[in-house]
Amino acid sequence: MTGHVKFTRRGLGKSALAGATLLGAPLPLRHAFAQAPANLKVALLLPTSGLQAQIGQACRRGADVANQVFTDMKMPVQLDIVNYDTETKPDVARTQAEKAIDAGANVLVGAFDSGQTIAIAQVTEQRGVPLIVNIAAAPQITEQGYKFVVRNFPTAPMLITGALALHKDVFKASGTTPKTAVLMSVNDTFGTAMMNGIKALFPKLDMPYEIVETISYDAAAKDLSVEVGKAKATKAELLLPVCRLNDGKLLVQEMVKQRWEPMGVMNPGAPGLYEQDFLKTMGKYGDFLISNVPWLDPKTAMTQTLERRHAAKFPGDQLDVNGGFTFEAMLIAAQAWLAAKSTKADALMDALRKTRIDQHVMVGGPIEFDAKGQNVNIKAAAVENLKRKPTVVMPLDSAAAPLVFPMPGWTDKRRT
């Protein structure tokens, strides 16, 4: 064998023809050609464009470093992760799920939003392919009796119950308990559902404060001066904002402008306050706000590895709850594959049902699923913005810094 490559006119012609065929093949087919290796094929379906693009991309970053983290953690597993964009639409999510399965995906992961997730779940159920839900809070997802769905994310009532329970822990740890609170909520699907959930669960949780006023505002509001003025007038000691990113900014800006300094701002299970863009925009005024949400446990070795890999690959982006849960979905898929030693759907699903992962990244107990496919061991964390970084302050086992409560005033020297 000489190692020389012979170029003949006929050979070159054949190569050109093969190349042209590959290039000219319809893109979905080409996609299928690219799916040949022996690793577990995981289709990651996320809204990486459209209204939820920012969050979808944050989720995706968690999956993008999964294989590196597995290697660092000496896990003998690598996944072939193929990304599919749901465009923030349930109909596209459904079509993409069909495409992923046609392209040979062994497991599907997704899809951040409940509507899109349910659209995908119907496909996976009909085609007998496991679906690992990374993020989606509608309780119905695990109440439908699906045989091929597991969810590693709390349901909406779990989110609220966990968040409100943490309030008591925060007050106990700080020795300061507010007596009154005002609930402010954006009136979109999520906000309304949260607000109704809080109203329903609040009386059962024996909370130490009374909600003296509930104020909702439009998701497209450009000015919250009236709402904040109304909230300030109640003289409530605690603000519970159910907000998203942009209204969260408006809310805090207005609080600073109106010099309303309640004892604390504690988000009862909503996004907004911990998000990277919020922290960048709000600067020192973003500090000392608390979000009670599921979060990464900074004390585990796997979280530290994930944070290191994430920071190296995406230096400008913060690792958050979205990336954390999506990474965990990959971890669950990998562990199921290791246990099943097969890419067959039934074997994988059987392994998923028996999952028990003690070492993972989010706060809470081991990852395991109940008969409905729901992980009930996820716990909320109190995440306080400290020095422009969301930092776990409760539970104490996972705390990376001491809690600061009551919140320092807007002009306090601790805000630098």
Binding site: L27, H31, G50, I118, D188, T189, A193
Partner: protein, 332 residues
């Protein structure tokens, strides 16, 4: 003259044969296509159907509605709610769904047409109705409120309750699309259809020669709303979940209008061709975005493609295509 002959009317024989071949192909398509392509075909047929329904109001009668999601959402919610709360199957619930949407269409139409709201003013009225219905459903617990209404999925096949896989929904939406096509053809060939065209071209002149303009417009909006409600019922049972934020969204209304606009307003084949072009382009650009690892690039190319089509084929793709194929259907 038989109904079939009236339907065929003066259409070229080649057109009729092509239609028959297309229908035959669509009937056997599930046996040929994979599940993914079947789901794409379902989307095409859905957009062709709702486009056809919208085209009655805008393409035939010349009344611009940008709030058709109202009727689809109402239809979906009524049928899904009856099934969810009382176990009333969609084949029965569809009558209530259509009635609710027709009533909504009557109210919107009467307010708009009786008080001579036309063009963008009528469009604004339709948007307003769609928006406040969304807000109402956000707070209506019977309909699940903002948290959504979810239908039970059991994985089995049950035609009576419209529960089943893609194949069942494919044939239902195919039947609906074929029905809408035939209905629109029949309407266009009727006196009412001629009245609509007269109103679309010049309402005042039509009124002057004795066309009952208000009544004709009302019939157009009621038929259009009722047909759109059917699509809403299908949509609710296909996806098994409804959220006010998406069911009544402005974006949903715009999606409904795109296929007939791109395909050719006021034509029978326009919504069908538009749906094929739009869904095809959408899938191609999705693949491109995935191949390049650039999510979101689809929207840019999709927008550019629509811009090019609207600039170079302002009457839509179908009139141009029909000319090229020698099928000769122009905008009525």
């Amino acid at each position: 003259m038989t109904f079939a002959r009236r339907l065929v009317g003066n259409a070229a024989p080649r057109t009729v044969w092509l239609l028959a071949a297309l229908l035959a192909l669509l009937l056997i398509a599930p046996a040929i296509l994979g599940k993914y392509w079947l789901s794409v075909l379902i989307l095409i047929l859905y957009f062709a159907y709702v486009g056809q329904a919208w085209n009655i109001l805008m393409g035939f009668a010349g009344q611009l509605s940008l709030g058709h999601a109202l009727y689809a959402g109402l239809g979906g919610y009524v049928a899904a709610g009856l099934f969810f709360h009382y176990g009333i199957g969609p084949w029965a619930g569809v009558f209530a769904a259509v009635a609710a949407a027709a009533l909504a269409g009557t109210i919107v139409g009467y307010l708009g047409f009786r008080f001579s709201l036309a063009g963008v003013y009528f469009a604004l009225l339709t948007i307003a109705f769609s928006e406040f219905t969304r807000l109402a459903f956000d707070h209506w617990e019977w309909a699940g409120g903002a948290g959504g209404l979810f239908l039970k999925v059991d994985g089995g096949s049950d035609i009576v309750n419209l529960r089943g896989g893609s194949l069942l929904f494919y044939y239902v939406i195919l039947a609906l699309a074929a029905f809408a096509f035939i209905l629109c053809r029949a309407l266009l060939e009727s006196r009412l259809g001629r009245y609509w065209l007269a109103i679309r071209e010049d309402a005042e002149a039509a009124q002057a020669v004795g066309v009952p303009v208000l009544r004709c417009k009302m019939i157009a909006i009621v038929i259009s709303a009722a047909l759109t409600a059917l699509a809403g019922v299908w949509n609710a049972f296909y996806y098994n979940n409804l959220f006010p934020e998406t069911a009544f969204a402005m974006g949903r209304s715009i999606e409904i209008t795109l296929a007939p606009i791109i395909g050719g307003l006021g034509t029978l084949f326009g919504p069908v061709v538009g749906a094929v072009v739009l869904t095809g382009l959408g899938e191609a650009f999705t693949d491109l975005g995935e191949a390049l690892g650039m999510p979101g690039i689809k929207q840019i190319f999709y927008g550019l493609a629509l811009l090019v089509i609207v600039m170079y084929r302002p009457a839509g793709v179908w009139p141009w295509l029909a000319g090229k194929l020698g099928l000769g259907e122009l905008r009525k």
